[in-house]
């Protein structure tokens, strides 16, 4: 395996990996924050390319490092090698009108479902580790963490 990087002034940095099979993968981190990926099969002359924004690049990076076992639309499940059989899901949801005006403590989210609300994003402002007195508003984006069955319980009993 050959792996090297080079500076491309005015563009960014290019990382090139040649696999044992002779395939070439180039990743170009551009100054704009976007990432272009090129792949070329060993016997083929043509490159295939894709352009990713920063978030897409991070997601792909997670997949490649093996951190993500399951990727749903807005959720990831993470397995830690040091903790056997522990799979933690992190999920985001948008709060609907039905939960607007209700607090985390009032709904007793953790006792009822086992899920912890990690953060809430409202109009660009993030609240990390919100207190039980935190009152939801319609349109809030929430990040919750728990095991897969706890997440399902949260969806059913809290979100409705």
């Amino acid at each position: 395996m050959d792996f090297h990087h080079l500076s491309l002034p005015g563009i960014g940095t290019k990382y090139e990996l040649e696999t044992e099979e002779g395939d070439i993968i180039s990743v170009v981190y551009m100054e704009s924050g976007k990432v272009q990926i090129y792949t070329r099969g060993g016997a083929c002359n043509e490159y295939c390319s894709a352009e990713l924004n920063a978030m897409e690049a991070r997601r792909l990076g997670n997949v490649l490092t093996g951190a993500i076992i399951e990727a749903e639309q807005e959720g990831v499940e993470i397995a830690f090698s040091a903790l056997a059989d522990l799979r933690i899901s992190v999920h985001t949801y948008i709060i609907g009108k039905n939960l607007s005006g209700r607090s985390i403590g009032e709904m007793d989210i953790r006792s009822k479902t086992g899920v912890t609300v990690l953060a809430v994003s409202r109009e660009g402002e993030n609240t990390v580790n919100p207190r039980p007195s935190f009152v939801f508003g319609a349109g809030d984006a929430v990040v919750v963490i728990g095991e897969a069955d706890q997440i399902k319980r949260f969806e059913k009993e809290i979100l409705g």
Partner: protein
């Protein structure tokens, strides 16, 4: 203000359409200037304010160019980088100079035209590599570093052309002192500067703009061209941070550069200029000359003529630096010639950049057919 507003409004429309069609916008800015300026409809006129803002565009363009000349990166490149650069320079400068002298231009103007003829548009080359998804190609590295080599030669041209205007020794000495002072100061203050760029308030922005304007002010005191001092400042700052000053300078560059190109177009006078046929011939020669240097570089560095075609497709367009040289040092005759050169090569370069894969495939098929016939 009316002229500036009109120039920006037209520039906005052009930029929008050019992005949509993924085509270089620089030739259109110049055409707008020619069409709306005194040569055409006479609705945009030159003014002191417009000239100042256009000059700011040039300063920020050259400052960001300097940011890409990080001494450590440049010194680490040897061999192929220098060889490719020298071939590019030798072929294109010689052809440009020969053509300009044949057209009867005096030596000084012929040198300015030859320099403009040689320097490709970095903006168009890099944007072609990104937009047309060519960064995976091995030739992309060659193209990017050719642009860096051309930038270094541009610095030498600015020194040379400034020196020929009088005070050769004093200008070269003052330039070297300023460049040395820039590197020395940034090296001494690297920690405070690094801390300054990590701030999230308006302080880094004010620092960059003030530094650029102070460098330009110093040049007027020392008799050094301000185009040089801002390049030196950018290169010195790149030792500490490239991304932060580049991100700060970008909006100033993008807006004022539009004014720079449009008002360059406004200033172009075609009375007494070369005939349209000669201008077209010079444009075609400029495209062929880059093809010639591209083929030699392709054969030498990548052992492939098709690689040479790829290098040519991204470097055929002349643009911002050719215009900059003409604006700083050119006469009316040089300005009209370079304007035509940029418009013709940028149009051709836009297409070659976009369709280089097809051009290469067609050539590859042609070569195979020829080989089959031989066998």
């Amino acid at each position: 203000m009316q002229g500036i507003a009109l120039a920006l409004a037209a520039g906005f429309a052009v930029a929008y359409l050019a992005r949509k069609w993924r085509f270089p916008s620089i030739p259109f800015y110049i055409i707008i200037g020619i069409v709306l300026g005194t040569t055409g409809l006479n609705v945009i006129h030159e003014s002191e304010t417009a000239a100042y803002l256009a000059h700011m565009g040039l300063l920020f363009l050259l400052f960001t160019m300097g940011l890409h000349l990080r001494p450590r990166d440049v010194l680490a490149r040897k061999g192929s980088f220098v060889r490719a650069g020298i071939i590019d320079f030798a072929v294109n400068f010689a052809v440009g100079l020969g053509a300009a002298l044949l057209l009867g231009l005096p030596l000084y103007e012929a040198v300015v035209i030859a320099a403009a003829f040689f320097i490709s548009s970095s903006a168009m080359a890099l944007s072609s590599l990104i937009e047309n998804r060519k960064l995976g190609f091995r030739e992309s590295e060659t193209v990017v570093w050719l642009m860096v080599f051309e930038d270094i030669v541009l610095v030498l041209f600015i020194i040379l052309l400034a020196a020929t205007q009088g005070g050769t020794v004093s200008i070269i000495t003052a330039t070297l002192v300023f460049i040395g002072a820039c590197y020395g100061l940034v090296h001494l203050l690297k920690d405070p500067i690094r801390r300054l760029f990590s701030r999230e308030d308006e302080v880094p922005l004010l620092f960059v703009v003030t530094a650029v304007l102070l460098a330009a002010y110093f040049s007027s005191l020392a008799g050094v061209p301000d185009s040089l001092t801002v390049i030196a400042l950018g290169s010195a700052l790149s030792m500490v941070s490239q991304d932060a000053p580049a991100a700060i300078a970008r909006p100033f560059r993008e807006v004022f550069m539009v004014l720079f190109f449009v008002f360059f177009g406004v200033s172009v006078q075609f009375t007494g200029a070369l005939s349209p046929l000669l201008l077209l011939g010079l444009g075609v020669l400029a495209i062929l000359s880059k093809l010639c240097s591209g083929l030699i570089i392709g054969r030498l560095l990548h052992r492939s003529s098709l690689s040479g075609v790829e290098i040519w497709s991204d470097t055929a367009a002349r643009g911002e630096f050719s215009i900059a040289l003409a604006a700083i040092y050119g006469s009316a005759m040089v300005s009209s010639t370079v304007a035509a050169l940029v418009v013709i090569t940028a149009f051709a370069g836009g297409f070659t950049g976009m369709y280089s894969a097809r051009i290469r495939s067609a050539l590859r098929r042609g070569i195979r057919r020829k080989d089959a016939r031989k066998n």
